[in-house]
Symmetry: C2
Subunit: 324 residues, 2 copies
Amino acid sequence: MGSEKKGKYWVGFDLGGTKMMAIIMNEDFKILSRIRKKTKGYEGVKLGLDRMMETIKEALVEAKVIIKEIRGVGVGCPGPLDLDKGILIETPNLKWKNVELKSILKKEFDSDVAILNDADAGVYGEYRFGAGKNQRCVIGAFCGTGIGGGCVYEGKIIRGKNSSCMEIGHLPVVPMGPLCGCGKKGCVEAIASRLSIAAAASKAAFRGEAPKLLELAGTDIERIKSTTLYEAIRGGDKAVEKIVKDAAYQTGIALAGAVNLLAPDVIVLGGGLVEAMPDIFVENVKAAINYQAMSSLAANVKVTSAKLGDDAVAMGAAAWIEQL
Amino acid sequence: MGSEKKGKYWVGFDLGGTKMMAIIMNEDFKILSRIRKKTKGYEGVKLGLDRMMETIKEALVEAKVIIKEIRGVGVGCPGPLDLDKGILIETPNLKWKNVELKSILKKEFDSDVAILNDADAGVYGEYRFGAGKNQRCVIGAFCGTGIGGGCVYEGKIIRGKNSSCMEIGHLPVVPMGPLCGCGKKGCVEAIASRLSIAAAASKAAFRGEAPKLLELAGTDIERIKSTTLYEAIRGGDKAVEKIVKDAAYQTGIALAGAVNLLAPDVIVLGGGLVEAMPDIFVENVKAAINYQAMSSLAANVKVTSAKLGDDAVAMGAAAWIEQL
């Protein structure tokens, strides 16, 4: 890709289901500007792409960087993707299909472009700049509406033939367990994602066992955000606390499998649930790994919360280009 | 390691708990000779090392190769190992402790030496010469007395900081399941290893539900080998058949987790159980992966039995040196 190198500024982009963000970074990956917009996937692909371009261009203006000075554009987005061609095959939350994002961005900004799975970008960001900095093997688990995962092994993102992998959310933890969105049974995401926790907590609220949650959000799982769960726990809802702790522990049981396979040095926990309740997650994931993973491997893994917050995906996606 | 290169012949060594084998290969990894001996770990380290040297030297004589012509010596052995220093930290079956095998062999043969975990060596052998030849991502599961695993990803063996990893036998499949030799509960090895199958089958024999097995081996699990199990199945023991099929299926459930994490192109099944009953294992592992792994990843993985048999470990260990 060397022939296309020219500028020294990086564009990082986080294309989420509900919001998007562009950041501009200098050659040392210091952030010069951040612009956020709502994604509004329901408006369709064309308007969505226009919003992306607008967001990037506003961020460039704020950073006082012109297009000619761009070294590369990295985008983290929900899968499934065609990694090599940089195509968004399908993004359920956006209703986009077969969008050739890489070639569109290459044309627009005349620079190197990388399209990554968002969890991969996030863990790569944490590997380069955050909680897993320069470690040999870093596994990231992002616990939010779903549970995403990624692994940076000796500086490279572990990937499938032409897709991302490290589907930590779909590690089986309970034989014949609850049905998962992926169609299989007993995946940890079907027990421990924010949606699954919210569903369990809403039942507790309905039964009258979570009065604070009932007061805050009723029994509508759409209203039960990670912060709502934390507020309910702080407000004294023991039933919600038990559900959240169990979910964190089950996440750790799934991660114990990943520890036994990959012997990571660091596990970085991120996502909305972890940001709202880092201590509950780190503590229970650690406990579950100690319970379930091989002792020698469990002893060598550090479990920690992510450091970069919302910037991880955009920073990681941009930084990934540098090593391509 | 370039300075030490001289000869063109490879020595591969498989150091097992009960037997050892040396093979000599030419520059194209064509096998010129094979010598096997019993390991006799109970005789202690010194006599054991003497037997190793003897075995290698006899193989050299048979292949008409002299020590000066050796390009490298690769040894696959049971763990845990210090991979970088080439030390056998502890080998439960041999009762050897802290044996500096790499430096001993380097001195003896004045050539490059690699000490590998046996499962890693086996899967690397299958990757280079066997059922996973030149595939991007190959996972090997060796189902015998225990269940060992390894992964070759983009030409390299996935490893821990200074140890092997890919402990497929210790992937949890049943919460609060049977106690495993590793001290944890519900590992697939505690259900599906040859020892675990033999224990379950011996109960069936004791209860009078496996008359053929009772006739062949009684209820002593030491006498219930993989071939005995197969013979009992062929002799009409439905209870044994059910136990073996379930074990193969549970192995597949564990592997489904590995599929979700690593999106392998090929899963190679080897070891005594698979050699005795390849069809039962391949079929049930496939079925379990289709049941439990994400559909898109399950669809892309080929499950097959190993091709190299007893040669895999020794061949893989020797070939590994070439790419160091």
